[in-house]
Symmetry: C2
């Protein structure tokens, strides 16, 4: 006869002790937001909205401060490499708070066996990208780990920026009535990386959009000043996650027009083949903005006058909070669908 | 008959293309200095002496900026863990330029499968260490890589500091006649890590000296002001490498008294057993200073009044440049030996 000991019918260890980090925790989507909220920022005492960069008042100066790790694989891909991506990514995070970059710090984790020629090439790309952005790499660090422990190399870039005059963009400042502007086509970076990694043959057609956006932001702020309410570059998690984050931080809803979204035909084909939603695919060279309606035309014109915003367009409007969905899209057939954050992992190691 | 084609007797690829990153490149010693000089800082256009942190003038404020990657294994060790080590390490790099920390950025690279409980514990340790140092973690980033690709987790901490009034310490400012002060015993961190990693059984006896030093530096500067010429925390590469770097940057020589060096007996035993020179073993909680002779007694007294400097002592003097050796030690038998930088790798992954 088998007896059941009631004490042994419970799970032998609390569920939390068996929880582990998943690839999806790095996706930039819902799982990552949960990880940050429950494990990281909760403990660090950082409440409040998630911004791309932090503000710090030092003396009379408003500094902007941002850090980003880069683990992209492959390290060289059509349209860029891990070195330039690391510089542009951090410059762009500063720009999303209306700041021009003034200094970068660069930390390498190198794997034993990495060819020095490759390290030279990556470092040359860092240097070239920094020159292009008018920012100096002023300090750094190099660690080496054993074979198999770092997948070639990881870079962490950290930037200090100074806010432009009259610029206060924040994820929290969107208000109903704002126009949603998008600076260019979406989906190129994620599909370029996946294609390069898996040898899918799109490489010749799709190049990452990796580029710096601080000049574009400066042009937008020159044209719109404080009417530029909120800025975000839709990297991991794609445009869908960026819009959801802005809507959440500002306490508003967003309605976009799916028909007009600029998805290049090659990206659309690749996404269809791979079963990806272009709205969830990472970008590294475009931004989305909430701009006061009265200044939207002027800001849009300024964007189109800048090389990084030639294809800028209005893609939607900001509305009052209400209902369950933060972001919705008007579809081709005239219906409305919910645009959720990316859940789980669509494509690991994209940046 | 075999003919030799002269064109094929040469090495098929240039030697530089076969060079690869070695574990020793991360040692903090000679190899690392070469890697930095030839591959990294050369290309980034950063010439000049290697400092622990960079100075940036923003408005009227002298900011200090420093970044550090942490890949220590094991992640938890006697006397600390990767979380507190990352905070203290960056706080200490700022302190070596005479700065108090004002903000930290924290970037994780997490390996898929890392228990969330461990991530919580590490993050709690970061938070506790930051509170202890009076600094906030204001921004961060989280990347996830696949199983086997990051050895659990790596942290990169980057700090912004503001210089204390009347404080200008720099690796370049040592002058002949300066007294060399050491804030405490050496060798504990490296031997604690090696013991914990290899299960050598010293764990119960040797604890890492990992601790913040910004309070100690503030006390030294309050006592000595600009007489505190140069500061360095002898981490990777140990006291020998730190003294060589300071001597090189200042264009001076250093003579220390080996007999009086504070090496705890357990550390000395472990080093003897393992064939290590305590002068090359990493520390994470002491500093070495070049101080003008006229203020050395006052600074030393201030150090001994601070909890992090109770066992501070003078260990040598700074001399005129000349001869081949930058750093020499008077030995037990009255002779003099050259104290070189660490060459190659003594103990990987110590921080």
């Amino acid at each position: 006869m088998t007896t059941i000991d009631p004490a042994r019918t419970t799970c032998p260890v609390p569920a939390t002790e068996t929880e582990r980090v998943l690839l999806g925790h790095g996706s930039g989507g819902q799982l990552m937001a949960e990880l940050l909220g429950e494990v990281v920022t909760g403990q660090l005492g950082e409440a409040g909205p998630l911004e791309d960069a932090a503000l710090i008042g030092v003396g009379d100066t408003d500094l902007v401060f941002s850090t980003d790790g880069f683990v992209v694989t492959p390290r060289f891909f059509p349209g860029g490499d891990i070195g330039s991506l690391a510089v542009y990514g951090t410059v762009n995070d500063l720009a999303m708070r209306g700041a021009r970059p003034v200094a970068l710090a660069l930390a390498y984790v190198l794997e034993e066996g990495l060819p020095l020629a490759e390290l030279r090439e990556i470092t040359a790309s860092v240097a070239q990208a920094a020159r292009e952005c008018g920012v100096r790499v002023v300090t750094g660090d190099t660690k080496v780990v054993g074979r198999g422990a770092a997948d070639g190399c990881y870079l962490t870039t950290t930037g200090i920026g100074v806010r432009l005059r009259g610029a206060f963009p924040s994820a929290t400042l969107g208000v109903p009535g704002d126009v949603v502007l998008l600076s260019g086509p979406i989906g190129a970076h994620g599909t370029a990386i996946m294609s390069a990694r898996e040898g899918l043959g799109f490489e010749s057609e799709i190049r990452s959009d990796s580029r710096p956006l601080h000049g574009l932001v400066a042009a937008m702020i020159a044209a719109g000043g404080p009417a530029v309410h909120a800025l975000r570059d839709p990297t991991r998690g794609g445009l869908a996650s960026a819009l959801n984050e802005l809507a959440e931080a500002s306490g508003v809803t967003v309605e976009i027009d799916e028909i007009g979204l600029p998805v290049p035909p090659q990206v659309a084909s690749a996404c269809e083949l791979l079963g990806l939603d272009p709205l969830h695919v990472a970008n590294e060279g475009c931004l989305v903005a909430f701009v006061a309606a009265s200044s939207a035309d002027a800001v849009l014109a300024a964007m189109r006058n800048h090389p990084a915003g030639r294809q800028a367009q209005a893609i939607g409007v900001v509305g009052e909070a209400g209902g369950m969905a933060k972001v919705t899209a008007r579809t081709l057939v005239g219906s409305t669908r919910v645009v959720d954050m990316l859940v789980g992992e669509q494509l690991p190691r994209i940046c």
